[in-house]
Symmetry: C2
């Protein structure tokens, strides 16, 4: 099948074609840009939910519980799990249970991606996957990342709704107002809320979580292993979605997301160029040392 | 002082001007690209040593001990410490001791940078700092990063010599051949070598570390807190530097580095554009949805 045949079959709902389409996009096979252009036209309906959290917060268990509830409500969710693949925090991000859920239920599709060997980084790859899921009719699309480092924030900060998951063990870090945590969340989840320190971290989060565009982020307590509080999380997502529509903030985020995705796509194209030795005088001049990288970059990006 | 006056004073060796020049570069004040163009012409002599390691490996202590030895040998080292500033792995990367050393000895300059709020990421900022130190006559220039995630590998993989620091606690992770660790090092250091498991991790590293361009990475054991093994690390750096010269691999790395730096510089320029709402039709078209990000990126980068 050509990429465009595969695309047609996938858009018509053929499950096997969908899986193959996603793989071909991940592999960036010839013609992938044209496929993305078509998918982008079909996308735009899904609510994008970014979920990040500290190591050990039980985030994957929570995602599994959320997916259970969504499928129960007859929705067709999808998950993109983004794994920076550091050998020391890494490991498979998508739990076996979620993979098994997806194998057993055609309404759920999941895909994990790691940074290893990927030109252009995680951001570009994840945005094309999210767009594909959206175009194929999945809603909501969950974007799960490990940690709240820079590259993870880049990926999830462009979601419609960002959920930050913490556990009571991280009370001190949250209290210290450390980077990222209190700035990026639309919803905060204190998972493992049956453990000591839970009420303390809830209180701190409620105090310090920053209001964004007229939305004060709620703090929801969960015990994901027992399904406790999961419905409240989904409820909060719904409230936030409504807020986005009513205030016009949803449109703002969508525009911001498209600019970010363009930026990520440019970075991927640039990465391809950076490893190609035959691609033009400006790159060669920098390599030889007759031009500095900073002047060359400004010329290239500004088309000068 | 104008940027070019500051630059002249710094190149003539005025210490205060050097510090101010570095700050102005970090702040990307008006005219910084012109300053970088001049600095780039003066740079190219320094040996760039990337140092990364797992959390808790005592890397900062080791860097301090290496600096002691270098200053003892009457060299003028500099350090760029790159901190991804994740709230959960972060903290000040440059130890107080190194800062104090720099305050007391004009031959040593240090600078740390974090990812927070930085457009274009760490990579671009660190490459301009490294170039500045090189141009100002520092040699070697040490680039220290936390962890071996993607962005850190990006930063240090372009060094002339890459040192990976581990401690005995990480034996299992190394043995499992996890990402990054066994691929990027030119020299491996097992720090805290007086602890249980040290000989095991040394053996494993010696077996699995990958040969790069005819260089089999040595594994050096250190107890940085006592200065044990530090001279051997410096000796290994010297051997590797010689290898780079003799095989021509040094020129290859330098060319690869300049392409990578151009890539990083482009990413920074692109990041500036991505946040500027008034910067051209292609960006607007993507934002409005009349063009997809991937097609736009290819057009922009390929100048089509």
């Amino acid at each position: 099948m050509t990429p465009s045949e595969l695309l047609s079959a996938a858009l018509e709902g053929d499950r096997r074609s969908r899986a193959r389409l996603l793989s071909s996009l991940e592999d960036r096979i010839d013609g992938w840009r044209e496929v993305m252009a078509t998918l982008d036209k079909h996308a735009g309906e899904a609510h994008l939910v970014g979920i990040t959290g500290v190591p050990g917060s039980g985030k994957s268990t929570l995602v599994g519980a959320i997916l259970d509830e969504l499928l129960e409500s007859d929705l067709s969710p999808a998950v993109v799990a983004v794994d920076p693949a550091s050998p020391f925090t890494g490991g498979a991000l998508l739990g076996d249970r979620i993979r098994m859920m997806a194998a057993g239920d055609p309404r759920l599709m999941v895909r994990s991606m790691s940074a290893r060997g990927r030109l252009g980084g995680l951001a570009s790859g994840s945005s094309s996957l999210v767009t594909a899921f959206d175009a194929l009719g999945h809603d909501p699309v969950l974007i799960e990342t490990v940690g709240v480092g820079q590259s993870e924030v880049e990926v999830i900060d462009v979601a419609d709704t960002v959920i930050v998951v913490v556990s009571p063990e991280w009370g001190d870090a949250v209290q210290a107002g450390k980077a990222g945590i209190v700035e990026i969340g639309d919803i905060y989840v204190v998972n493992k809320a049956d453990r000591p320190g839970a009420s303390n971290i809830e209180r701190v989060l409620t105090e310090v979580a920053e209001e964004r565009a007229g939305w004060r982020p709620p703090v929801v307590s969960t015990v994901a292993t027992d399904g406790i509080g999961v419905f409240e999380v989904i409820d909060a997502i719904g409230s936030h979605r409504e807020h986005l529509v009513q205030t016009g903030e949803g449109d703002d985020r969508r525009r911001r997301r498209r600019r970010a995705w363009l930026r990520h796509a440019i970075e991927e194209e640039v990465a391809l160029r950076a490893t190609d030795p035959d691609d033009g005088t400006l790159w060669d001049e920098v390599e030889k040392g007759s031009l500095d990288p900073w002047t060359a970059a400004a010329r290239l990006v500004n088309g000068g």
